[in-house]
Symmetry: C2
Subunit: 303 residues, 2 copies
């Protein structure tokens, strides 16, 4: 068969100018519509990036090697691609897109890798600091709806680092089980309160390829000091969020872009020994007032 006898190709051959169309036209007729949409957009932007960067063969190979190392760093205990997503702002972007809340509702931020479900349920006021380290802190507030009405029986699930900047699960041989974790339930007036210690900043795991990349980019791996919460109640959108200390040196440079202006709390330093005594604290201690505002679930009758 000679070249001139062959039939016209179903699709044109690959050319630089038409690369996106050629690749996307290759998908079959029965592809899941959402997958078709996702892949078409990914190929479009991936090719646009390549055309703008014009990588050399060596640079392309460096990219391949980097992604391979990221994949190979992953284990049951480590998700390096999530770290990559976090440090490039992708995780926060996905979070923002999925949590465009009505004005006034508490803003979401990323879950992070250290959440452990089914923490102990405690009576309000319980001190969840089990290792005795750090500056004592009391957190008090209400869970309310977007009209300011209290929500009784809401769950406030909290976790944070200890004063050394580690979560209990990172130091299983050092910290008591469930140190600085607990689930509280709001009273009839929507109120909750508990005792703990002021949280510390800490680095995300930076001994892998993502940490190395951050180094090359002149970036540090530290997360601004924060407390994690998941607040939920029947009939409302649960909120996964943090509150941040206003005095952390990394507040404006959180390595995963988790800080939102609306999530920076007042941390009041209290030096009155009588107030400390009431709480069973040494003086001074930190006092935080924080309300959570939940939005009603869409398309769902409140239970």
């Amino acid at each position: 068969m000679s070249k001139t006898e062959r039939s016209k190709p179903k699709y044109p051959y690959f050319e630089e100018e038409t690369s996106v169309d050629v690749v996307n036209a290759r998908m079959g007729p029965d592809v899941d519509p959402r997958l078709r949409e996702v892949m078409s957009v990914l190929v479009k932007h991936l090719h646009a990036a390549i055309k703008e960067i014009e990588p050399t063969h060596e640079e392309w190979l460096q990219g391949v090697k980097f992604l391979t190392e990221v994949g190979q760093m992953c284990s049951d205990w480590r998700q390096e691609f999530i770290l990559l997503s976090d440090t490039l702002g992708v995780s926060m972007l996905v979070d923002s897109i999925n949590h465009r809340r009505p004005n006034g509702a508490t803003e979401n931020t990323i879950l992070g890798p250290f959440y452990v479900p089914a923490a102990p349920r405690y009576a309000n006021g319980t001190n969840i600091c089990l290792d005795g380290k750090g500056e004592p802190m009391v957190v008090r507030g209400h869970v309310v709806d977007t009209d300011g009405e209290p929500i009784a029986g809401a769950l406030v699930d909290v976790w944070q680092t200890n004063d050394d900047g580690f979560y209990d699960v990172q130091q299983k041989d050092v910290q008591p089980d469930w140190n600085l974790r607990g689930v509280f339930t709001t009273e009839n007036d929507g109120s909750y309160w508990y005792r703990a210690v002021k949280p510390r900043y800490y680095p995300i795991p930076d001994d892998g390829p993502v940490g190395k990349l951050l180094g090359h980019l002149g970036r540090h791996p530290n997360r601004a000091a924060h407390i994690h919460f998941i607040v939920s109640a029947p009939g409302y959108d649960p909120v996964i969020t943090h509150i941040f200390t206003p005095d952390c040196q990394f507040l404006a440079e959180d390595s995963v872009f988790g800080v939102k202006d609306s999530l920076i709390a007042d941390f009041q330093k209290v030096t009155d020994p009588a107030r400390a005594y009431e709480l069973g604290f040494e003086s001074p201690f930190w006092s935080v007032d924080w309300d959570f505002v939940l939005a009603a679930k869409k398309d769902t009758t409140k239970e």
Copy 2:
């Protein structure tokens, strides 16, 4: 310290609208300028893709898991991220960008994973098919410059699959060493010729996550039948290229987008027993005439 006392952040906090600027502003002042450029463009297009796709949290997690599987499929013998790059047209795009040749010079295409350096050097005319399988083929032509002047002493490094669709290195226990590989040197008139067998189409490795993705996309893993060449001569840009058979059923659907119109050769079926006898072939056999056109190196005096 109260919220109002804290100093203004050096950069604004992350918001959906400003996400690209916030992430890229985080790079330090001493970052390698090329790395800064590459990362800025990648973050811009990555965020644009996310904003267009609006992935759910579950879809984002599926993406993370897919990339992790791709990384974990890689080994000393398997580069799944290169397969991903190949099947999304990225490898061909990078190749095209780096090989915009003067009109008339032989076009490049991708190297592929089966090249082995330092194949045996043979006299012109040698038959490199060592397993006796397949339809005999003779390839004849010249290596010339862009003015059509012959280039003597050019190296024509060739490799291809056997008639079962496998390279020797994929079947180390089955095929003779260096089966269907060899390096030929052009004569004073620029000519080269050798004997082999008509190449077969074959699938790229499709037992990993990339093969699974191709399946979901309604795409097959087959490469159109081709012969690989690296042609080089002092003072000229080496060309890494293929020639394709015009009658392959996958010509218009090469799984890695390697086909270019200019690289489809005439494969003439010869039934004359006298001509077969001259070549030591059974009749019929395939005859291919193919010239390679090399462009002079830029900024280099021809040696």
